[in-house]
């Protein structure tokens, strides 16, 4: 009796199951590749340069915008700027009205587009009037407003504002007055929700001797804002995947828990781990994004990071515990608790906590000020680097630990293998069951990890070219995301199903003939001699068995 479904499944059934899972995996991949558009799009907006209104430096109710019937932008051309001795410093506003019109239509942001990230590119020309330094600090006064369709044309409402400093790295091949600097892009804002229809960004570049602001920057001829938003189509496909997997995983978990409780024993650690893993996946699957269609949820970026973090932490812990539980070495009956794994899990916890703290420092603060970036200040970037390095070290320690444990399990397996023929039939089958289970998970995990890594590398390689050589038939980046997402769902669902306790004990006890009929299909036949229902977990069983040896 006992064991999991995996051991008691016939080769044929297992083949059918595995091929079904692989097929659904392929479907997930193709859904992303064929139906979904790219995960995100970019719209590059060129700043309209307007003349500033007096008193705007401390009045955040002044909004300058260039399009619309009541547009109040007094456009300044480059020629006018060049004619001015001081390049009209402190008199200019760089205005971005998002999104841009297309096909004669005034487009608006859809709530399906989820989030918005802004990156600034500067066109800076050499200016004989100012001191030009290639590496300097840029101070920007940025103000963001929003408006909805039903609002009046000039009904811009305050969203956020900040005076931010950003490092500016430029290269100039030719230091003549006719040349422009090649400057790096500057990330300027990240918004976790795209709740409103229109956004307006007013950027001022204040020049001030007293506060040492923007004194060594050349002549800013243009500002380009690249806005990255998630594609609505991708969100829709993603949400439909989530909505499909969510009930499926919940159903599988309920079935699993029900089955565990049918046994007259307390669930073992591995079963707890499986249910925790299922729960963290369910949390990840929970289609919370539907709520963003109705409510403004600025914390969605942070939340999705946290959800992913919890899931990865759980997955890593599961692998550790799984390897530990299949050690085949028995240290009395203490196995059934997480406590003995605290040393192993410490790495996972440290890594996750440090990444969480980093995320809180970056995206947490962005809830209040979307222009904030931890990387700007020297102190902040040191802290951020500390967290990230800590995370990386814990990841490395974890990985080494895991490899060590897996290696130990394999050592034990080979030791046990050599003595297998001398064992009694019953014990041999038990050991074979454990080895089989372990190898199956190893294989599946390695396959999943390998596919993810290959997909990621492929994505990185093709990413650099897709803009001009894109294959229309398969959107690889989307296919990668849906494929990986589907893969881990399927992986965990199949783990929960296959590692659920088998029900094959009942026919054994009651009906001997039925067992004989099925005997041909069963790979690891049941053990009729064992009738202790409280010791169904083969693991605990082995603990005792080897202890007796």
């Amino acid at each position: 009796m006992s064991g999991t479904i995996l051991e008691n499944l016939s080769g044929r059934k297992l083949t059918i199951l595995v091929s079904t899972l692989l097929f659904s995996q392929l479907i997930c991949f193709l859904i992303g590749g064929i139906f979904a558009p790219r995960p995100s799009s970019v719209q590059t907006i060129l700043a309209t340069i307007c003349l500033d209104k007096p008193g705007s430096f401390n009045d955040t109710s002044i909004w300058i915008y260039p399009r619309g019937p009541k547009a109040n932008c007094d456009v300044v051309t480059h020629e006018e700027m060049l004619k001015d001795k001081i390049r009209m410093a402190n008199q200019l506003v760089f205005v971005f009205q998002m999104p841009l019109p297309r096909e004669g239509m005034n487009l608006d942001y859809s709530r399906w587009q989820q989030n918005l990230i802004g990156i600034l590119q500067t066109d800076i020309a050499y200016d004989p009037m100012t001191y030009n330094k290639p590496d300097t600090e840029l101070t920007l006064d940025m103000r963001l407003a929003y408006r909805n369709k039903e609002d009046p044309d000039d009904g811009w409402k305050y969203y956020a504002s900040s005076m931010e400093k950003r490092d500016l790295h430029c290269i100039a091949d030719n230091h003549t007055d006719k040349y422009l600097y090649q400057c790096d892009t500057i990330p300027i804002f990240e918004m976790g929700s795209l709740h409103h229809d229109y956004y307006l960004l007013n950027i001022r570049v204040p020049v001030d001797d007293h506060m040492k602001m923007n004194l060594d920057i050349g002549f800013i001829t243009d500002l380009h804002l690249s806005t990255i938003y998630q594609n609505g189509g991708f969100t829709k496909v993603w949400m439909s995947l989530k909505s499909t997997f969510f009930p499926l995983i919940v159903a599988v978990m309920i079935w699993f828990w029900h089955r565990v409780h049918l046994l007259q024993r307390k669930p073992v650690l591995l079963e707890y781990m499986l249910i925790y893993l299922g729960a963290s996946l369910t949390f990840l699957n929970l289609p919370l994004e539907y709520l963003t269609l109705f409510f403004e949820m600025k914390f969605m970026l942070l939340l999705s990071d946290i959800r992913q973090g919890i899931f990865y932490a759980m997955l890593c812990s599961f692998w550790l515990v799984f390897a530990g539980e299949h050690m085949l070495i028995q240290e009395s009956g203490e196995r059934n608790s997480l406590k003995i794994y605290w040393r192993h899990l410490l790495a996972v916890i440290t890594g996750c906590v440090s990444l969480f703290l980093f995320d809180i420092c970056e995206r947490g603060v962005q809830l209040r000020n979307p222009f904030y970036s931890i990387w700007v200040s020297r102190f902040g970037s040191k802290i951020a680097m500390t967290f990230i390095i800590l995370g990386a070290i814990s990841a490395a320690i974890y990985f080494l630990f895991l490899c060590y444990m897996v290696w130990k399990v394999f050592c034990n397996i080979s030791i046990k293998r050599s003595v297998l023929p001398s064992m009694s039939k019953m014990r041999r089958l038990h050991y074979e069951g454990i080895i089989y289970r372990f190898k199956f998970l190893m294989l599946a995990t390695l396959l999943c990890a390998l596919l993810t890594i290959i997909g990621f590398i492929l994505g990185q390689v093709t990413d650099s070219q897709w803009h001009w050589n894109e294959n229309f038939e398969l959107e690889f980046s989307s296919a990668f995301f849906t494929g990986v997402y589907g893969m881990w769902n399927i992986y965990i669902a199949s783990m929960i199903i296959l590692y659920a306790p088998s029900h094959k004990k009942w026919p054994n006890e009651n009906d001997q003939t039925q067992e004989n009929i099925m005997g041909e299909e069963i790979e690891f036949s049941n053990l009729p001699s064992d009738s202790n229902p409280s010791e169904i977990s083969s693991l605990t069983q082995f603990a005792r068995k080897t202890a007796l040896d």
Partner: protein, 432 residues
């Protein structure tokens, strides 16, 4: 005998007349596609207000420089005339910058009244300089339209990827689907629209079969291709905690100076071509092949959908670009897509030549230490130079204050000018 002589003379005269007429005709035809350059000086004679879209459109003088198709495009895409005017000015500035040290300095001083070519009569010759002018103006229009799209000053820029081979216009039925398109998968890059519209607008006059028209078409295309190929990729990681698990890339429109530099390099390596016997229906049709590659590159869509979309239009348009040019020197390689081509030697630019619209290098600034073209020997064509002293304002020692929280006495702006004397070398005005 006398009668015969007279008759002969008569015939000769007639021939000469016909020839002259034909020449006149062809000369008019030559600049036909390029009269729109005059848009650069829109509103300049009377110096009214800065160029606004409505102003350019209303100006009858400007309107007259446009061909019927160009007027239609301007009507259907409000805002493009302002962008094209900006582009033309950008082209002039860039051309003058690139040629500031050469005997021919891309002067537009000859442009006096409507109908005359902006760059002067040099355009009537199929020489290198003309090739550069065509390429840089076409590139500037492409660049400027793409730029205007990202500024939002042309509202009819396309969003859909698949429309790129259809004539650009705003039609109501498509707009609804475009809004859906925008929500579903975002919009295509502005360069798609810029390229397409620039081709429609700039190439519209080059309809003939002469070598000159082929040369213009090729150089126009080369200019546009340069804009597209000089675009640089920028990427941003925005995955979990800002990691590169999600990365988005886009193409950045280059500074126009970069394009000007590239085209200047092509100018120096321009290829002289001659008439190919089978001008059309040639198998090794360079441009057409390149075109197709372009289109594919441009829109990121597969070419099959495109050909389904507008096959008739496509076919006709492709025919126009279906030609190959043969190098004058058979040992040279045939011109590639990005090469500039010409078929006539450049005239000397030393002396004033009114027939060719050349101003000469009299009074030009030169550099007595340089051994290049900007050196006084070469620039002044051996006529000698004189020295001139000019006062130049060098640097402003300004104090800036942005905020009013600072004490009042600091509030006023102080601007100091530091004057400096610079010695200039200028080519002698009189050569003997």
């Amino acid at each position: 005998m006398d009668m015969l002589k007279l008759f002969y003379l008569l015939i000769m005269a007639l021939c000469a007349y016909v020839n002259a007429d034909a020449e006149k005709q062809s000369k008019q035809n030559r600049g036909r596609g390029s009269i729109w350059w005059g848009i650069a000086k829109a509103g300049e004679p009377n110096n009214i207000s800065p160029v606004t879209p409505t102003h350019v459109y209303m100006d009858p003088a400007i309107h007259a420089t446009l061909r019927r198709k160009q007027r239609r495009l301007a009507r259907e895409n409000p805002g493009i005339l302002a962008a094209i005017a900006k582009g033309a000015n950008m082209a002039i500035a860039e051309c003058q910058h690139q040629f500031r040290n050469r005997r021919w300095n891309c002067s537009t001083r000859n442009f006096l009244q409507r109908g005359k070519n902006l760059f002067g009569k040099i355009v009537d010759r199929g020489c290198r300089e003309t090739a550069f002018i065509y390429a840089i103006t076409s590139a500037a229009v492409t660049h400027s339209i793409a730029r205007a799209c990202s500024e939002g000053s042309i509202e009819s820029c396309t969003c859909d990827w698949s429309h790129q081979n259809e004539p650009p216009q705003a039609s109501k039925s498509e707009s609804v689907s475009d809004v859906r398109m925008w929500e579903w998968g975002g919009c295509s890059d502005n360069i798609v629209f810029g390229y397409k519209l620039a081709r429609e607008f700039v190439d519209t006059g080059e309809r003939g079969r002469s070598l000159r028209e082929k040369m213009n078409l090729h150089n126009n295309e080369a200019g546009r291709v340069h804009v597209q190929s000089e675009m640089r990729e920028e990427c941003k990681c925005h995955g979990m905690s800002g990691s590169c698990s999600v990365k988005t890339c886009w193409m950045r429109l280059p500074n126009f100076r970069v394009i000007g530099d590239a085209l200047k390099d092509r100018f120096d390596a321009a290829i002289r071509v001659q008439v190919n016997n089978n001008l059309k229906n040639n198998n090794e049709n360079q441009i057409m092949r390149n075109n197709r590659r372009n289109n594919k590159n441009l829109a990121n869509t597969n070419s099959e959908t495109n050909s389904v979309h507008g096959r008739g239009q496509n076919q006709r348009k492709q025919n126009r670009y279906r030609f190959s040019l043969k190098p004058y020197n058979p040992d040279h390689k045939p011109p590639m897509m990005k090469d500039l081509v010409f078929f006539e030697q450049s005239p000397g630019f030393c002396e004033k030549n009114l027939r060719l619209g050349i101003l000469g290098t009299h009074g030009r600034q030169c550099n007595d230490t340089s051994i290049g073209v900007d050196g006084c020997d070469l620039m002044c064509c051996g006529r000698g130079y004189r020295t001139q002293e000019v006062t130049v304002v060098e640097r402003c020692a300004c104090t800036f204050h942005w905020c009013c929280e600072i004490k009042k006495d600091l509030k006023s702006k102080i601007i100091l000018k530091v004057a400096d004397n610079v010695v200039l070398k200028v080519c002698a005005t009189i050569s003997y």
